[in-house]
C-alpha cells in the first residue's frame, strides 16, 4: 500500500472532521510521527504515556479498555466511549506502508452523555454492576507481513483475543476502515451521513496465501465510493 506521511495525516484529519460533523466525536489526540529503525516512521496517536504491548492482554478485558482510556491511547474517542486507534509504519524512502494496526475498541458500559456530567467514564466502568457490563469484542485489523507465519496471515482481524486471527483480503486505508466501522456498528450514522461512503485507494495488494484461500477468509473487493 503506497502512502506518504502527509497522505496519512490528511486522511486521519478528514476522518476526524467527518466524525465530528456526524456528532460522533467526543475527544481526540493529534497524530504524531515516531522514528523507527529500518527507514521507517510510525504515524500514531500522540500521548505522553507508553503504549501497552498487545501481548499484555492476550484476551481483551475491561482492564485493557481502561489502560487505553487512561493513557489516552487513541486517535478518536466516540460519544459512546469507544476508542479508535490508527497506527501505520511507513518506509519513508518508498512511501510504502509496511505495517498497520487499526482498532475499534468498544466501551464496556453504556451511558447517556448527560451521565458523564455526574461521573467520568472510568468511574462508570469501575462502578457499574457486573451484570450490566456489556461484552462486545474489540475489532483489530493488523497488517504485518514481517510477522507472517503458519496460521498467522500477514493481514488479519482479531476479535477480542490475540489468538483469533481471521485472514483478510487486504490492508485498509484510514477512511476505508472507518467506513467499515460506521456501516457495521453505527448504522444510523451510516444512513444519515454520506461522507463516510468515500474511501481512499492506496493500492493495497491481495495478501492472502493458499492456506487462507482454502480455510476461509474475509474478503472485500470494494469500490472506492459506495452509492
Amino acid at each position: 500500500m503506497k502512502a506518504s506521511i502527509t497522505d496519512l495525516r490528511n486522511s486521519i484529519d478528514r476522518v476526524r472532521i467527518n466524525l465530528h460533523d456526524a456528532g460522533l466525536l467526543y475527544d481526540w489526540n493529534d497524530c504524531s510521527v515516531v522514528r523507527l529503525s529500518n527507514r521507517r516512521n510510525r504515524i500514531t496517536w500522540a500521548t505522553s504515556s507508553v503504549r501497552p504491548e498487545v501481548s499484555s492482554f492476550p484476551i481483551s478485558n475491561v482492564g485493557e479498555y481502561l489502560a487505553y482510556l487512561e493513557g489516552r491511547h487513541y486517535q478518536f474517542q466516540l460519544n459512546d466511549g469507544s476508542l479508535i486507534q490508527l497506527s501505520y509504519d511507513i518506509d519513508f524512502k518508498k512511501d510504502e506502508i509496511k505495517q498497520s494496526r487499526l482498532v475499534w475498541y468498544p466501551c464496556p458500559v453504556q451511558f447517556s452523555l448527560e451521565e458523564l456530567e455526574y461521573a467520568p467514564i472510568k468511574e462508570l466502568v469501575l462502578s457499574t454492576p457486573t451484570e450490566c457490563i456489556v461484552c462486545r469484542a474489540p475489532i483489530r485489523l493488523d497488517f504485518s507481513p514481517d510477522q507472517a507465519a503458519h496460521n498467522h496471515s500477514s493481514t488479519h482481524i482479531h476479535l477480542g483475543m490475540e489468538e483469533f486471527r481471521l485472514p483478510v483480503h487486504r490492508a485498509m486505508e484510514p477512511s476505508r476502515f472507518i467506513r467499515f466501522i460506521i456501516r457495521t456498528i453505527y448504522p444510523t450514522i451510516w444512513d444519515n451521513f454520506k461522507v463516510f461512503r468515500t474511501a481512499e485507494n492506496w493500492a493495497a495488494q491481495d495478501n492472502l496465501n493458499e492456506d487462507d484461500r482454502i480455510c476461509g477468509f474475509l474478503g472485500w473487493h470494494l469500490p472506492v465510493a459506495i452509492p
Binding site: 456528532g23 481526540w28 448527560e114 455526574y118 461521573a119
Partner: protein
C-alpha cells in the same frame, strides 16, 4: 454613625463576654469588636484572643477575659500576673501586625499605633488598682483617654486581623503596563477584594451552638467564607472532626488551597487533614465522600454512581442512595461521627442528603450550609427547614434557626455581590426570567414580588406588585462599588449574532487572540461556556480547531483535561454549563446561546443562560447563530436600552401559574408525545399545502381553528 459591629467567634468566658458586649454594644464607634478572634500560633499550640476591639475612636484594644486563676492569687502577685498576661497578648498581636508594611512606622520596626490591653473583670478586686484593669462600670472611663486611630491604618489593620491575605489576588499581573487595558481593569477589580465586609466577617467567624444558614447570590463570598470558617474552627478546636463538602467536583482543589492558606495565616502550620476533611458529597472510586464515609460507618457498602444510575435514574441517583442510607441508619444505634459539617452549594443537594448529615453530626448539630437563592430562577423559594432536615416525632422541624441579639447569628444573608458588575447581573436576570420576550410572555417569574427586595432590587417606577407595571434597579448598596471605577456597561457586556457556526467560532478565536495580545489578559482569564451540554464536545472541538490555527491552546474541562481542574496556565478553558457552575473568570464567552431560546424547557434553558452570564467577573460576550439568536439579541438590546434596569408588567398570580405548567420541565414521554403531535400536524399541513386535501374535508371545528391560525 454606625453602631459598633460585633463578631462572635469562640467564647472563652461567656459570662465575661456578655458583660463586655453589654457595655460596648451601644457605643457609636466605627469599628469591630471581635470575640474569640484572632487565633495566634504559639509555641506548641494555638490560642485565641478573648476579645479585640479595633475602632477609629480608640484604636486597638485587647480584652483579657481569662481572669479566674488570677483572682485566686495572693495579694501582690495579682498585679504582676496581670501585667505578664497583658505583655504576652500585646507581644503576640504585635508580632502579627508588624509583618504588614502598611502598619509600621518609617523605622520599619514599630507599629504606627499602640496596642492597648485591658483586663476585664466582673467586679473590682480589693486593693488592686491598675490603669489597665476595668470592670463593667469603669470600662468606658478606661477607654476614653485612648487615642484615635489614624484612618489610613483601618483597612490594612482589619486585613491583618482577619488574615485575609489569602484573598489577595493569586495573579500578580506583572505584565500589565497599559493603564487602559482590560488587564489593568481586572487588576484593579481584584485588588479591591482584600477585606471582608461586615456580613462576611460575621458569617466567617461566628459559630453558633447549632446549625447555621448562610444565604447569598453567586459571588457574595460563600465559598471563601466556608473555607475561612473551616480554618478557624480547626485552629480553635484541632481535635474536632470537621467536614467541608460540595457538589461541583472542581471545588475540591479550590477549597483545599483556600483552607490551607487561611489556616497557615492563622497558625503558621498546615492543617491536619485527618481532622479537617474536604469531601465531595458522594465520593468516587478513588476518593471518599460524605455519603460513602457515613455509609461505611454504618456498616453498609456505599453504592457508587455507576450502580445507582441503574436503580434510580441518573438525575435522582444521589437522592436515591441518600434516602436508602437514611432509612437504614434510623434503624441502627448509629453514633454520629462529625463535629462540624460545612456544606457549600446547598441548593444542589436533595433533602435526603441534609437528613443524612443531620444523623451523622454530633449534637448540637453544628451544620453550616451556604445556599444560593438564585441558582434556580424558577424555584426561588428556599426549601423550608422541615423540608430540608425533616420533622421529629412531635411534628416540629428537627432543626430551627434564630438570630438572637448578642448571640452568634444562625441565619446570615450576604447582601453584596462581588463577582458580577451590577448591570451584568441585571441583564442575566432579565434574560433568565425572559422579561423582554414580549406579548406578555415570560420564561418564569418569582411568585413573591418581595423576593426582588430580598435579592437586592429596588423599585424606581410603578409598583412592585403582582399584575402591576414596575421598574427595578439594583440597589447601590448591594453591589460592590468598584466596578464603576474601571468598566462601563457597554464595554462589559456585548452580544454577537452570526449567520453560521463557523463564523461564530472564527470570531471568538479572533477576539481571544486580540484580547490576549493587545489587552494584557492571560489565556487563563478566559472561560468559554457552552450552554448546550450535549453538543458541548462538538462545539468545543470546533472552537479548539480555530484557536489552534492561531497557536492558542485550549482545553475542554473534563474531556481533554482533568474534570477537577478548571484553569490551566496558557490555555483557554472551555466547559459545558454543568462544569461552569461555581467557577468564574474575568472574560466569559457564551457560545451558541441560541440554544437557550428554542425548543422545550424554556425556563430550564433560561436558567442555563443566567448561570452562564454570571460566571463573568468583568466582561461577557454572548454569541449565537441564526434567528433565535437574533431575537435573544433584541431582548438584550431592550434591557440595555432601559439602562440595565428591569422594566416590565409583573405577571398576575394566574399567569405565573400558567408559566410554570407551560415551561416546566417535560418528561421525556411528554416530549415524545408533543414531537409526535408536531409531526402529524406537519404531515396534515403539508397535504393541505400540496392540495392533496381540502379544508372542507376536515371536521368543521378543526377547519375553523386552522383558518383562524392562518390569519
Amino acid at each position: 454613625m454606625a453602631r459598633l459591629d460585633i463578631v462572635f467567634g469562640k467564647k472563652t468566658n461567656p459570662v465575661a463576654v456578655e458583660l463586655l458586649v453589654s457595655v460596648l454594644i451601644e457605643q457609636e464607634w466605627n469599628g469591630t469588636l471581635y470575640v474569640g478572634y484572632p487565633v495566634f500560633a504559639s509555641e506548641d499550640n494555638s490560642s485565641v484572643t478573648d476579645a479585640l476591639l479595633t475602632c477609629q475612636e480608640h484604636g486597638v484594644v485587647i480584652f483579657d477575659l481569662t481572669t479566674e486563676n488570677i483572682i485566686e492569687l495572693e495579694e501582690g502577685a495579682i498585679e504582676s500576673a496581670i501585667s505578664y498576661r497583658q505583655r504576652e497578648l500585646r507581644r503576640k498581636l504585635n508580632s502579627r501586625l508588624v509583618a504588614y508594611e502598611d502598619l509600621v512606622q518609617e523605622d520599619g520596626i514599630s507599629l504606627g499605633f499602640p496596642i492597648n490591653v485591658i483586663t476585664f473583670i466582673p467586679q473590682p478586686i480589693p486593693n488592686v488598682e491598675l490603669a489597665t484593669l476595668a470592670t463593667p462600670d469603669s470600662l468606658l472611663d478606661r477607654l476614653q483617654p485612648l487615642p484615635p486611630l489614624n484612618p489610613h491604618y483601618v483597612k490594612p489593620l482589619n486585613a491583618a486581623v482577619q488574615k485575609t491575605a489569602a484573598l489577595k489576588p493569586k495573579k500578580k499581573r506583572l505584565n500589565v503596563r497599559n493603564t487602559d487595558s482590560m488587564g489593568a481593569a481586572i487588576k484593579h477589580l481584584e485588588s479591591q477584594i482584600a477585606n471582608l465586609d461586615r456580613w462576611q466577617k460575621n458569617a466567617a467567624i461566628e459559630s453558633p451552638e447549632g446549625p447555621q444558614r448562610i444565604r447569598g447570590l453567586a459571588g457574595s463570598g460563600k465559598t471563601i467564607i466556608l473555607a475561612m470558617k473551616a480554618a478557624y474552627l480547626h485552629a480553635n478546636d484541632p481535635e474536632a472532626k470537621i467536614v467541608v463538602t460540595f457538589n461541583t467536583r472542581s471545588l475540591y482543589q479550590q477549597f483545599k488551597n483556600l483552607i490551607r492558606r487561611f489556616y497557615f495565616d492563622q497558625v503558621s502550620d498546615d492543617p491536619n487533614w485527618d481532622k479537617l476533611q474536604i469531601l465531595h458529597a458522594w465520593g468516587s472510586e478513588s476518593s471518599a465522600g460524605v455519603y460513602s464515609t457515613i455509609s461505611a460507618q454504618a456498616g453498609t457498602t456505599p453504592i457508587p454512581f455507576g450502580a445507582a444510575r441503574y436503580r434510580f435514574g441518573y438525575t435522582d441517583a444521589f437522592k436515591g442512595v441518600c434516602t436508602e442510607l437514611v432509612s437504614h441508619i434510623k434503624k441502627l444505634e448509629f453514633k454520629p461521627v462529625f463535629d462540624y459539617v460545612l456544606v457549600d452549594e446547598a441548593q444542589d443537594f436533595p433533602a435526603a442528603f441534609f437528613q443524612l448529615i443531620y444523623l451523622a453530626t454530633k449534637a448540637p448539630k453544628k451544620i453550616v450550609w451556604a445556599y444560593d437563592e438564585l441558582q434556580n430562577l424558577g424555584d426561588s423559594t428556599m426549601p423550608t427547614l422541615d423540608e430540608l432536615f425533616g420533622v421529629g416525632d412531635d411534628g416540629n422541624p428537627v432543626v430551627e434557626i434564630n438570630n438572637i441579639d448578642g448571640q452568634p447569628k444562625q441565619d446570615i444573608l450576604l447582601p453584596v455581590c462581588y463577582r458580577n458588575p451590577p448591570w451584568l447581573l441585571t441583564l442575566a436576570l432579565g434574560l433568565g426570567l425572559g422579561i423582554k420576550l414580549g406579548n406578555g410572555k415570560f420564561a418564569q417569574m418569582f411568585r413573591d414580588p418581595d423576593f426582588w427586595r430580598e435579592i437586592g432590587y429596588e423599585c424606581t417606577h410603578g409598583q412592585l406588585e403582582l399584575g402591576k407595571h414596575v421598574r427595578l434597579k439594583r440597589s447601590a448598596d448591594r453591589s460592590a462599588p468598584f466596578f464603576g471605577d474601571v468598566l462601563t456597561p457597554a464595554q462589559s457586556v456585548s452580544w454577537h449574532v452570526f449567520g453560521d457556526f463557523p463564523s461564530q467560532a472564527e470570531w471568538i478565536a479572533n477576539d481571544i487572540q486580540k484580547v490576549t495580545t493587545t489587552q494584557e489578559l492571560d489565556l487563563s482569564d478566559i472561560l468559554i461556556v457552552i450552554p448546550d451540554s450535549l453538543g458541548a464536545s462538538k462545539i468545543g472541538i470546533a472552537i479548539t480547531a480555530q484557536l489552534s490555527q492561531r497557536n492558542i491552546n485550549s482545553h475542554l474541562i473534563g474531556v481533554t483535561g482533568s474534570r477537577d481542574v478548571v484553569f490551566v496556565d496558557d490555555s483557554v478553558a472551555m466547559c459545558s454549563i454543568y462544569r461552569a457552575k461555581g467557577n468564574e473568570a474575568p472574560l466569559v464567552y457564551v457560545v451558541s446561546s441560541e440554544f437557550c431560546n428554542a425548543g422545550f424547557d424554556l425556563s430550564k434553558k433560561r436558567n442555563i443562560l443566567f448561570t452562564a452570564l454570571t460566571r463573568a467577573k468583568a466582561w461577557v460576550r454572548i454569541c449565537g447563530v441564526g434567528t433565535s439568536m437574533q431575537t435573544l439579541a433584541s431582548e438584550m438590546a431592550a434591557i440595555a436600552n432601559d439602562n440595565f434596569e428591569l422594566d416590565f408588567n409583573y405577571p398576575t398570580q394566574k399567569q405565573i401559574e400558567q408559566l410554570r405548567s407551560a415551561y416546566k420541565e417535560r418528561t421525556s414521554k411528554e416530549k415524545r408525545n408533543v414531537q409526535k403531535e408536531i409531526k402529524s400536524a406537519q404531515k396534515l399541513l403539508q397535504r393541505l399545502a400540496d392540495g392533496e386535501l381540502d379544508l372542507g374535508e376536515l371536521p368543521e371545528d378543526l377547519a375553523d381553528l386552522l383558518r383562524k391560525a392562518l390569519k
